[in-house]
């Protein structure tokens, strides 16, 4: 157990895994997770897969909104673009391992387009712009029937790499998990190196950042590019996992969910993105048990279950922003600090 921060070099200070203890914990966690996936039922693995996909998407949004401070209310648009691109590319014969990054790049191009207004707009106005983008993508997906089959949606080829099919829940885990790990490490590296520090500087005070020599144009656009790439890959993975996508999978509501993830997890934190993605994925699944408990006495609860979900989401988002703006990551850090110092307060 470590007792304090005693760094003697800069390299140590920015290391991804700071102590041996953390390394052991993470190794243990990964082994436990794989073990759990191997022995547990499909439903559990399904949840884990959804968590992994959500983690990739949330990382992307957090890079843009949490680190760079550019509010995006249209993240679902990038997921949709990634999902449709990958579905169509694989259908056209491209191998999945190429289609995933290609879907990411197509989303990136759109991200750059949306990023251009951010050079001029900020705060509220940018939120409205990204919001409009999400809305437009959703409607284009509805209207471009020749490509997307409109509101009916399209079926997607299951994931297949080098002839190995990943069409079961458990199989898909072994595809999505390594990708998620790579995404987490990549995001962490971005965050701790020059781009990440430039992004944080822009978030905290863009004019000050510019006077210090940070190229606002380049770093704002790169944040949009990174964010939409992650979003596109997450959408593509989602498409191949569900094997069916339609415009209603990528509604405004999904963007709100992703925003909720990074707020609940913790803005500007990689670990927080994971916490938030897992929390927001598990919460509705947990809530599914609620109707069983209340079926007898309160049938209306079962009937209007989706609305109860909405009410809870809304409340959770508002309460986290008001009471714990640092999110689960903040709670986690406080708890760690508390136990490290225990029983002394200093």
């Amino acid at each position: 157990m470590r007792s304090g921060d005693f760094k003697v070099s800069y390299k140590e200070d920015i290391a991804i895994l700071q102590t041996g203890f953390v390394k052991i914990c993470i190794a243990f966690f990964i082994i436990a997770l794989i073990g759990a996936v191997l022995v547990s039922d499909n439903y559990f693995v399904y949840i884990i897969n959804l968590c992994a996909i959500a983690t990739i998407g949330a990382l992307g949004l957090n890079l843009l909104t949490g680190f760079t401070g550019q509010i995006s209310v249209g993240h679902a648009g990038f997921l949709a673009i990634g999902a449709y691109s990958s579905a169509k590319l694989v259908e056209a014969g491209l191998p999945l391992l190429l289609a995933l990054p290609a879907a990411g790049f197509i989303a990136t191009i759109c991200g750059l387009l949306v990023g251009v207004p951010s050079l001029k707009l900020k705060g509220l106005y940018l939120a409205i712009t990204t919001f409009a983008f999400g809305f437009i993508v959703e409607h284009v997906a509805n209207a471009w029937v020749s490509l997307t089959n409109g509101a009916n949606g399209i079926t997607v080829v299951p994931a297949n790499v080098f002839g190995l099919s990943f069409d079961t829940d458990r199989g898909f885990f072994f595809l999505v998990f390594p990708i998620t790990v790579v995404a987490v490490i990549y995001a962490r590296n971005l965050a701790r190196s020059k781009p990440g520090r430039a992004w944080i500087a822009i978030r905290d005070r863009d004019i000050a950042a510019e006077t210090m020599g940070i190229n606002l144009c380049w770093y704002k656009l790169s944040a949009f590019a990174a964010s939409s790439f992650f979003g596109g890959v997450a959408g593509a993975l989602y498409a191949h996992y569900m094997q069916f996508i339609g415009p209603n999978h990528f509604e405004l509501y999904l963007s709100v969910q992703y925003l909720a993830m990074i707020i609940i997890g913790g803005l500007g934190s990689i670990l927080g993105s994971i916490f938030g993605a897992v929390f927001m994925t598990i919460l509705p699944e947990m809530l599914k048990y609620l109707p069983d408990l209340l079926r007898e006495n309160y049938p209306v609860v079962v009937e209007r279950f989706a609305d109860i979900n909405l009410i809870l989401y809304g409340l959770i988002i508002m309460l986290f922003v008001i009471i714990e703006p640092k999110g689960l990551n903040g709670i986690w850090n406080n708890a760690k600090t508390y136990w490290r110092m225990w029983p002394y307060t200093h």
Partner: protein, 295 residues
């Protein structure tokens, strides 16, 4: 042929005017909150539809006469506005804009859930309070409900323009929007002003909701209209009452003409394409105040 096209466009303009005047009303609600508190309320559409459902509840379930039902609805809406401000936005004073926006998004999801939970998703017909026979002026048709909407929007516009210009409260609200600290020093109760503007905005939203559902139908998804009003607010300028009205009407007409000639899907996105264009060219809108950032 030419006169046929012109006629067609004119008819589309007239029905667009009616939709536009509803946009204007909802936009007015946005502007009132934004003017006083600097909060852009993503939940305005949900406040609107909640107001309409409350009114429906009073009329259909409690059988209250229409006039009193309206009055009760306005009181209820004002209370909802006050409570919302007290619970969720008072703690947010001085917080970064991102957090405030997220609270309004959370509020919109929350209210949507409340409406759906309380009244369900069956399409309801709002009890008619004006005659339904269409009125025609020299061949151009408009329904009385649309006409009422246009008139109400006009009257409210005049009232609020005067209110912000001449009444002490209105001037206080503008002062608070301009500089909270300075208005506190001048003896304006910022807390009261915040509560008041939420109450007023919520009432205006309820009026918009009642008019909208009397023109169309009553369903929780109507709250989406709040979203479609964004382009109107931005076009007019976020802090301008005049802008809300003009922006709403322009968007309503443009959308209707685009829908009439290019089809329903295009209609849905037209206003948002306009929105992005405005934001690129003139983010403060037609009548808004240009913000100057001091370093």
């Amino acid at each position: 042929m030419d006169s046929e096209v012109l006629r067609n466009i004119f008819q589309l303009t007239i029905s667009g005017l009616a939709v536009g005047s509803i946009y204007s009303l909802v936009a007015l609600g946005f502007v009132i909150i934004y003017k006083a508190t600097d909060i852009f309320n993503f939940a305005q559409g949900e406040l609107m539809i909640l107001g309409a459902f409350i009114c429906y509840f009073f009329i259909v379930h409690l059988h209250i006469p229409i006039f009193w039902a309206f009055l009760l609805t306005f009181i209820a809406a004002a209370i909802i506005g006050l409570v919302t401000e007290e619970l969720f936005f008072k703690p947010m004073v001085g917080e970064p804009i991102f957090s405030v926006i997220m609270v309004t998004i959370g509020l919109s999801v929350f209210l949507k859930g409340i409406t759906g939970f309380s009244w369900g998703y069956m399409i309801k017909k709002f009890p008619a309070f004006v005659s339904e026979a269409p009125v025609s002026f020299s061949g151009f048709v408009i329904s009385p409900a649309h006409l009422v909407t246009i008139i109400v929007a006009g009257v409210l516009f005049v009232i609020f323009a005067l209110f912000f210009k001449f009444s002490t409260l209105g001037i206080g609200m503008r002062a608070v929007a301009n500089d909270q600290d300075a208005s506190l020093l001048m003896g304006i109760s910022v807390r009261k002003i915040f509560g008041l503007s939420w109450a007023i905005s919520s009432v205006v939203a309820a009026i918009g909701g009642i008019l909208l559902s009397s023109i169309t139908y009553l369903h929780p998804s109507l709250g989406m209209l709040g979203i479609k009003v964004f382009p109107a607010v931005v076009l007019g300028g976020l802090d301008s009452v005049m802008g809300a009205i003009v922006g709403g009407i322009i968007i309503g007409i443009v959308e209707n003409i685009a829908g009439g000639y290019l089809g329903g899907d295009v209609k849905e996105i037209t206003s948002f394409v306009i929105l992005i264009a405005i934001l690129m060219i003139r983010p403060y809108g037609l009548f808004g105040k240009e913000e100057i950032e001091r370093v």
